[in-house]
Symmetry: C5
């Protein structure tokens, strides 16, 4: 009955778990940005609304001074647009279409660019326009509660003297960059917008390693679990991990091209001195992808181990059954023979018939055991 209980327990467990896996494949499809066939550049909020109200924050700096404040109306930042200082406008929240459109008008941003920024299901990409450079990135973090990787889209519009960054939610990934700006340490305060863009991209890519570490630890746990005792939970974890690797790869792969072209192309918005830094980020992305590939190979090795172990176990179970049955079925037959009620069975009348038979049975029993031992089944 214990087996039954364990089975139904397993099913209950799944009934519960399955809700956590629910709707996980939808992440792979981009939320449809617009009705098929509608005009390009149509701004329609896409994806779930993650925060209530968009927030605009401004940092304006050069080597000497730095000014930082929250802005309520985008028009306020206009005077700084072409000032010789570096103007970094950060906008959290992509659902206020009026705001996005105003930004577009004020900074002369193409309708398609705005659509790319607002459509959070977009693929990472880089596109150079006449007055600015668009970079669309994916921030990744591992949601332990839902047990999967989540993405946040980050859009950067890099002009000659300004940088506008768009985030879905007010994240903390740019906090260290702000800190460095405030402290005025390092190269960042002496550099232009391109370097700032690099710093933001670098912060995003550095975050990937945190996710990799989480995945690496999960793979290690799984490795130990599956090598010690393969269970169905382990199999499910393996599947979920594999799916997350697929998802991770899908998000990071386009980053490679993006950064390669950023680092190689002679863009008017990226000073040659920044190229060496971009090359560094490019290297990091390659490293992330390499590691993902290795993880995937390791997982496929683990699956082989799992499958073989399940087969081996079945083998062991079958051996136990076969040993027991092979020993006792013939013995039972012999006992059955002497349980027959024929009137003329001389052995039954012999004085030593019973002990003799017991000896014979024991002999067969021992012989079988020896045979199994020689076959290495015992």
């Amino acid at each position: 009955m214990t087996a039954e209980k364990s089975v139904s327990k397993t099913f209950r467990w799944f009934a519960k778990e399955v809700n956590q896996v629910a709707r996980s494949a939808t992440r792979f499809v981009r939320p449809s940005a617009k009705k098929p066939g509608s005009a390009p550049g149509t701004l329609i909020p896409v994806g779930e609304r993650r925060i209530d109200k968009s927030r605009i924050s401004l940092i304006d700096y050069d080597a000497q001074q730095l000014q930082e404040r929250e802005v309520s109306e985008i028009r306020e930042v206009l005077p700084m647009k072409d000032a010789p200082t570096v103007t970094w406008i950060n906008i959290d929240g992509l659902h206020d279409m009026d705001l996005i459109r105003q930004v577009g008008d004020l900074f002369g941003i193409h309708a398609l660019t705005l659509e790319d920024i607002v459509n959070t299901g977009h693929r990472p990409k880089m596109e150079e326009f006449e007055t600015y450079l668009l970079v669309v990135l994916k921030m990744l973090y591992f949601n332990e509660a839902k047990n999967h990787i989540e993405t946040e889209q980050v859009g950067l519009v890099l002009g000659e003297r300004f940088l506008i960054s768009f985030q879905e939610i007010p994240g903390d990934v740019f906090v260290p960059v702000r800190e460095r700006l405030r402290k005025g340490k390092g190269r960042i305060r002496n550099s232009d917008c391109g370097y700032l863009a690099y710093a933001l991209i670098d912060a995003v890519v550095d975050h990937y390693f945190l996710v990799l570490e989480v995945l690496g630890e999960k793979i290690e746990d799984l490795e130990q679990e599956l090598l010690a005792d393969p269970t169905r939970d382990g199999l499910r974890s393996l599947y979920v991990l594999k799916r997350e690797l697929i998802y991770f790869r899908k998000q990071v792969w386009p980053m490679r091209e993006l950064l390669a072209s950023l680092a190689r192309e002679e863009s008017a918005f990226v000073h040659p001195s920044v190229t060496v830094f971009l090359n560094d980020v490019y290297d990091h992305t390659i490293q992330v992808i390499d590691t993902l590939e290795s993880f995937r190979d390791v997982l496929s090795g683990l699956l082989d181990v799992y499958l073989s172990t399940v087969s081996n176990r079945m083998n062991e179970v079958m051996k136990v059954l076969t040993i027991i049955a092979t020993i006792f079925i013939p013995l039972s037959f012999i006992a059955g023979v002497y349980g027959m009620n024929f009137e003329y069975m001389p052995e039954l009348k012999w004085r030593w018939g019973y002990p003799a038979l017991l000896l014979i049975l024991f002999g067969i029993f021992s012989g079988m055991l020896l045979w199994f031992r020689r076959k290495k089944w015992l």
Copy 2:
């Protein structure tokens, strides 16, 4: 008997289902356009005739005015061919060879081009001729009744001042484009034929995301079903989904090249200002292919889960059998021994022989249970 019933039910179910799968692999082969060795450019209706009579509709517009009407004879549109307005001729139905030939003669279209348009089994492609640009596309939609993806071929002939679109059936994919033209909103009324071509291609590619969404939902359903309770139906769904992904990929893959060359090449028929839009469609196609690849990887992960779970189940079945057999076969043997009819079996005469044996049997029974519990089989 229930097992038997369930088996034959399964077979009946398949007998029924199989008809739905029937003739699905033929979609992969192009309907043979012509007898092998016959002259190129031979116009022979190919594939099933999907509508009764071909229909010609005309939209002629510039920024100021728009004229829209149904046309019965293709000659009527001739005067508009070289007018400065944009002339969009849409032809539904590809079985009226006379009509196609007339169009070819009037607009100076190469015989091979006409064959490419009429042969609905053609691969998506782009080819530039002296007086026009040919684009052959595939519209995809998911036929829920037949449970598979269907294709409709769309041919675009883009001249300097006209665009002819050929569809197999009067579809609704171009309706939103027509709406935008009528409303005179957006960039479309101020742009040339190239932009109109882009708008049509964009409408086709946007449709792919709808199909992706259907597939994504089916994969999610399957994921939940297979993780909870792997059945043979689940396996069949998995196979059908995989086949549809293969089919989808086969249709979309050439679109990638096509759009890449459209966006990169300096075609006389595509104004440089349209290139940024074509790049956008190209990005979408890449995204579709990426997602298809991810789906495929997810499906292969699901198959592993399915196979392992089937193995696991077998293991559980075998364990139940082994536990029962291992416990009761030896016990039966002992009972069989004392069922023998030897005259001289002293134990049979003992006063407490029977209860003692019952105790021994119970001891063996408990010992076995304990052993299985220690082996974690219970």
Copy 3:
């Protein structure tokens, strides 16, 4: 005994079938054209001699007139070699080395070229020489009797005013081209040798689609068979189909490169106006390869279905065994206990002992059935 019969029937069936599969892998290796280390250009008949005597036929035409006749000596065609008309010499049978050598001498063909033409195990290829262009093609047809794809090598030597085609056997693939020449219809009579070469290549490639259709239908049949009832025959068919796809692919793959270079290169022997036609054939080849890849993926999906179904079946068989054994082994044990011959077994003397035990046995029986039903095994 029926099982035995079915088994030996299966073996007999294989013994018979295996002869049909026999010698199938040799097709993959080219018949060794020459003793290793012997001089290049050594003409040795290769492969089986398929026809008795080589046959030479001649068609000589221009837009105005056409002359067609059988030729007994190759010298007879010499006067036409440099005439302004298009001279098409077709040679059936590649075992008459003297004839081949004479052709080589008369038309100035390189020794290596002759070796390439005669060696029927050669890879499709294109090579330009000073006075001619060599194209080696593979004709494919499906031999239903032997149940595999067979190849025939076709060599084309394209000069400025002549085209020599070499075939292993007098095939019918060029018949429609001859028809078109005779009827004087279409572009073919007004064009040069290059167009004639295109027409022949096109006829060969069009034939591939016929083979694809045969394969597609076989896959469909297999799909229905395997989904309904996976048998060992199905598995064998699957293997044979996969092998044929591998073989097909091996033959067609080099055609792709060949046609790509034909269409792209500026060859003196191919007029630019023919390029658009060659591009068309190239497209068809790509389509053939695409379809082959899709077929292969579909087959691998079918294999998964087959394997899983076999596992599922085993599961069902095991369930039946387990249910029967699990129900009756304990019951037999109880019956065995009351079959023991102890003198003091009070139950045996009870008036209602027997009916009570029957009730108990029935209770256990029902309880087991219920348990299996709850486990969904019934």
Copy 4:
């Protein structure tokens, strides 16, 4: 007991066979040419010493005359080095480091080149130096005794007027080339060193087809064996064949690049007229690789057949067990019931009880048979 015997026979067979497989993976690693970190160009004999004493043979020829002799001291050939004749020096045996060093000094060969020639674990490669061209090749032959492919390294140093070939053992692969030289037939006597190099390379590559044929025949045998009756020996053969294909591929793959660069590059040592011949060898190499790939796919198909057949067999075994057990276990139970010793079992006293029960038992037996037949298990 027969099963036991067959098992231990199997083990004995393996114990014997395993020695033949022994040390097979070491072939994949190059024998370490030098202590890590030692100077490049250090000449240390590598690999097993295959012959006792190195042998130098010389052929010196032009169109008019040919001189052939064995040479004991390498200095003797010096006068011919820059003579207008073609000087071919063949050195068998790579363990006489003094000889190798002398050759290096006399012909001005770079230390690294000598190391490449002597290190028999080297990858095929081509390298052009100022005064000569180095080509390192792999000769392959199938060692039937050891049942695996063996390699011999062939080094060619091609100068303007001389060619030095280095072989590990005095092989017969160059014999036909020598024959052609002696007979003075064909192009070879009228050509330069480059053509001689081509002839040698061609002889080596032609040998690959012999190995391919051996492999092809083995695959055919295996195909017939596995389709008829899959055994564990078959599986082992499959593994060994696969490993040999991997090994073959590893050796031939670099030949492709090597010949491609030989044929394409404008080397001072290869006359343009030889290029067409090198292209031919290149084609052959591609063909070898294609065939290897096809073989590999066929083998993987065979593995699937093998695995499925093993599963199928298990299914059949299980069916036999299940049929027997399912029929007789319930019957035994009924017989057991009437073997009980209750005093009040009215059936036992009935006159027709026994025949009636026999009838019932027979009825159950027949019913079961019918049921199995309906399930198609019989």
Copy 5:
């Protein structure tokens, strides 16, 4: 009971072994070099501190003289920096950030370069700066105790007249190079810094072959073990070997690009005469990667063998069970029939009933044996 013991022994074994596998996947992720978003070029010690105190050693040489000594302060070497001699500074230990920073300042090394050198989790790479060339390499050695491959990062900074090498631990890989320098033998003393860099890279790559040899031997052992007797330990070894191959490949793959660009690029720091040597190292790297690929294919073949053998074994176990059960279950049934207690069972009273039945039983037994022999199960 032996089975039980063997099972728990297995578990104990794993409990022990698992600690050795522990934390193996972390090697794949680079230790996070810096807090995400912190400034690039931030020097933070990364990875475990492997030695206590950094050690600086200096070798300064030209063709005539060589000076070698330990240095306590990096400033001491400054005078030699621009001297015409070759100055090789080797620094063991990467945890003394002050030292690293001093080196950076004295030799004008970019902050990012220093970060790359200190961050031991970096991918092999090459980067050219204005005054130096950075090469980051991975030394690999096989840790037999932990049964896995370990890496040590080696950084080379190659200036015009100096070379600085950074190692994590004072390794012995450079010892032979030092020896060659001291002995003044060979080309090395007469060459510049570029050649010294080549010698160090060559020493590192040569070490890879030692690791390959270890892996090759392990694969051979595994091959023999798995072909003779597949055990679960073998499976685990297979998994561990596969994982190590993945790890090896991940480390060596970027070396390929690195050396290719080193050998091809026209770097100011690498004299053209060194290129031929670098090409040689490049060839070795390719060979390493080729061998890794082959190993991987061989391992996957071994896994197939393992899985099939496990299946085969199960088959054998099942056959034994089936033979025993199929023979004895029907016999037991017959014995059971004559054990019934019906009063009217005429056979029981027959004089020869018992011997007759014994004969019948023996006949059934023999018939079954014959049948199994015909089925080739015995």
